[in-house]
């Protein structure tokens, strides 16, 4: 990591993080905004999800996608990306630019300044006609977002995960598709998008992280200047944490013409908020199904040969975890039992103490190597948008290392199976069971 980051507040709840370093051949600027995902409001969710794409594909200065792409190509193929992802029951909107450091330009161009200027242009001076978003640009973006939803139906692992979340978090905002619905996307108007853009600038807690050898003052002053005229009233989105399953375990089974069954098991973690026993919970889930030393890998995959992949992944900002695996449809019950057995062993403390140290070393290794990539550094700080004090990977590592076995066991007691989703193969009866 760069030795010193410098954090300044450029507007209310909008921090600028400068991470100066000469280590890399490219610089990165990442802008993150956090917006609420109100339950049932598919229009708002769709508008938020669509906004980063709309902002990044064109702007007032480069009003077509091709002009924008040509500008990026002239900046030595600078990468510009934008998207939205759920962060608990909120939507994290990101726009990101990465480009070659000036010292590698073939003819001494100012690449970093050009990229900074472009990023601020597209955030603050979008492609408006008569004060509203360009209709053609919006229609293109609506098609692209709709096709992302359609495309997911061909990705069975992602499809099964989405179905599990919809079933398990039915009645909660987290159960909604964070891209909205096809109908809601279709209904979006230039006025809706203008409102979503203004809401983002005015109400979203924000953070801008820049990893570069130079050029911080320019970005910071331009952001200050741009946001000086905006009357910011940021609102911190809130997430409903459901600490335990609401009733009996919910089971949903669907069938398609697939070769392999997809099993997704959703667990409530007993967390009351994002910090509640989090580090101990992370370790508990890591030894359950987070690494090659975990129970799911060593036993469900390696010993029982039930699957090629089987892992447990926490959704910290919602207080849940998902175990996902691709298994033979006829071995669904065997796989479920084996997975639950592994969880039970952890909850009962039936594992070697060294496993906790293995997990700590694994996590520490990843944290230390984060310093080797400008993208990971930028993302590390940008994802701390909800935290009042930014924490370095080294400080986080020290906290992980301080977690005790007792704390891990205590956290593990909170893990409760809530919902099981299984996508079965329609041809299962014809499969040969090995």
């Amino acid at each position: 990591m760069p030795n010193d980051i410098r954090v300044t507040e450029i507007a209310e709840q909008f921090r600028f993080v400068a991470a100066p370093t000469e280590k890399f051949k490219s610089s990165v600027i990442q802008l993150n905004f956090l917006l609420p995902m109100p339950f049932g409001d598919t229009k708002a969710v769709a508008a938020h999800a669509l906004l980063p794409g709309l902002l990044k594909r064109s702007c007032a200065k480069f009003p077509t996608a091709r002009l924008m792409e040509c500008r990026l190509a002239d900046l030595y193929g600078a990468s510009l990306a934008g998207g939205s992802a759920p962060m608990g029951e909120a939507q994290l909107l990101s726009i990101y630019i990465s480009a070659l450091e000036n010292r590698y330009a073939l003819t001494n161009e100012e690449i970093t300044a050009g990229c900074s200027e472009l990023l601020l242009e597209l955030l603050l001076r979008p492609n408006l006609i008569d004060g509203l978003f360009n209709v053609d640009a919006l229609e293109l973006e609506k098609r692209l977002l709709t096709e992302r939803i359609e495309s997911e139906k061909g990705n069975k692992a992602a499809f099964a995960r989405r179905r599990l979340l919809a079933e398990m978090c039915d009645g909660e905002a987290y159960g909604m598709d964070p891209r909205g619905t096809v109908e809601a996307i279709s209904a979006l108007t230039p006025t809706d998008m203008k409102e979503a853009w203004e809401e983002t600038l005015r109400c979203a807690p924000a953070i801008c992280v820049m990893v570069s050898s130079d050029g911080f003052e320019f970005v910071e002053s331009k952001l200050r200047e741009g946001f000086a005229a905006i009357n910011r009233k940021p609102v911190q989105p809130e997430t409903l944490y459901v600490t335990a399953p609401k009733g009996e375990i919910k089971y949903v089974r669907e069938t398609q013409e697939v070769e392999q069954g997809k099993l997704v098991m959703g667990f409530r973690l007993g967390m009351a908020d994002k910090d509640d026993r989090w580090l101990a919970m992370r370790l508990a889930l890591t030894i359950f199904g987070g690494g090659v030393y975990s129970g799911l890998f060593r036993n469900v995959r390696e010993k029982l040969s039930l699957c090629y992949y089987c892992s447990a992944r926490p959704h910290r900002y919602k207080g849940i975890a998902l175990v996902e695996s691709g298994v033979d449809t006829l071995k669904e019950d065997e796989a479920k039992t084996a997975i639950l057995n592994e969880l039970s062993y952890i909850q009962q403390g039936l594992f070697e103490d060294s496993l906790i140290e293995d997990a700590k070393r694994d996590i520490a290794d990843g944290l230390q190597r984060a310093a080797d990539s400008p993208e990971i550094i930028a993302d590390w700080y940008a994802r701390q948008i909800c935290e009042s004090n930014l924490e370095s990977p080294a400080a986080y590592e020290a906290r992980i290392n301080a977690v005790t076995l007792e704390e891990v066991l205590d956290a593990a007691q909170g893990i409760r199976l809530d919902t099981v989703y299984f996508l079965a193969s329609a041809n299962a009866g014809e499969e040969e069971v090995q």
Binding site: K23, F24, K25, S26, T64, A65, R66, E69, C70, L72, A73, D74, Y76, G77, A78, L100, Y104, L106, D136, L140, R143, L144, E147, R148, E150, S151, K153, G154, N155, Q256, E257, V258, E259, Q260, G291, V292, Y293, R301, E302, S305, L306, C307, Y308, Y309, G326, V327, D328, D358, R361, D362, A364, D365, G366, Q368, R369, A371, D372, S373, P374, Q434
Partner: protein, 431 residues
Amino acid sequence: MSETIREIIRDEKLGEEYFRMKHPSGLEILVFPMPDKVGTYALFTTNYGSIDTAIVKPDGTSYEIPEGTAHFLEHKMFEMEDGSDAFELFTKTGANCNAWTSLDYTSYMFAGAGHTKENLESLLEYVTHPYFSEKTVQKEQGIIGQEIRMRLDQPGSTVFWNLMSALYKKHPVGIEIAGTEESIFRITAEILYDCVENFYTLHNMALVVTGNADPDEVLAVCNAKLEVKPGTSAKRCDWEDTDAPTDSVIRVQKPMELPLFELGFKEAFEGSAPTYRDMLILELIMDAVAGECSPLYESLMNDGLVNSIYTEAEWGNGYAVAIYGAESKQPEVAASRICAEIERVKAQGLSPETFERSRRRFYAMEVRRFNEDDAVASALTSCFINGHGLFDRINVLRSLTLEDIVPVLQGCMRPGFSVLSIAEPLLAAES
């Protein structure tokens, strides 16, 4: 023990250098120190991939091995004779380890912060001391069987393999890397040992270390761990497969909603493999034809025909394919527009502006590669497999002119040598 041959290869403009060493064991060692990095990344690679479907003996005779053997062997390498596995070795240091099999080669990796000596020792130890039994082979058949089924459910994977197998009827490049559930059940411990003996000789392998790495330390570990034995690199089959494909369109129905396609052109080349230079120029031409700055990309997007386009050149021993891929509700229309644009560019040439944009973009991608220890390691591995230097691509790009690309442009992406591979939703009656 004879001396290790060592040379330093520098690029003054980038300010980067790497060490190429030929170890007495026959192993090629490539070390790219990145002093600012915390982590070390290593790839131990054998020049043996899924296209090696036969073992060629020194007398020239050969015998076939089941499809998917290289990949199966890669999985089995992790098991040790004492019942433990290689993952446990790396768990002790916190390093991440993995392996993969491609068409041309098989690589074993670790990435870790610190503990470089121990991690390197572990890597060399487990890959050079395989242990297989019929029991452990059977155990893996279940795991890999599920991996094969997982890929059968991925439309993108099916589209690619359908394309390659339609373009190449004789060359095994169209055979899926993991093989089939049927073929992997024919693999035995004996076949695996034969493959090790033939392909995992150090004369057929390279060790690449990047990031926080010292060439002397790497060499010292190699000296301590590796046995010096006479040998040569493995003989590989030669395939003569230059015929035009017989099918121009191949379709598959899947439970999906948005169709996707790959349009591939079988490329001509001289000798046993194309040159890296011609393939780099081909990639650049493809970017100029259908990249995000191109008029074609803009028109296909505006007409609702694609939501993005990717291009790639897939090439190696005996094969070369130029691929355009996209999701599209009208794959045939999108593909015919790409074909028409290729012909227009061939007839009219690229404009200087278009060429320069693509050249800069490719140049920047090459420079940025040197940010990442894993990207440099992959590039060095590719250098070992394909026989060129790490800075060769960037040097070509620095001086490439519009005139230089004309011979490749005129000879590439020939009409009659293309296949359109489509995955589309199941017919309503079936779904």
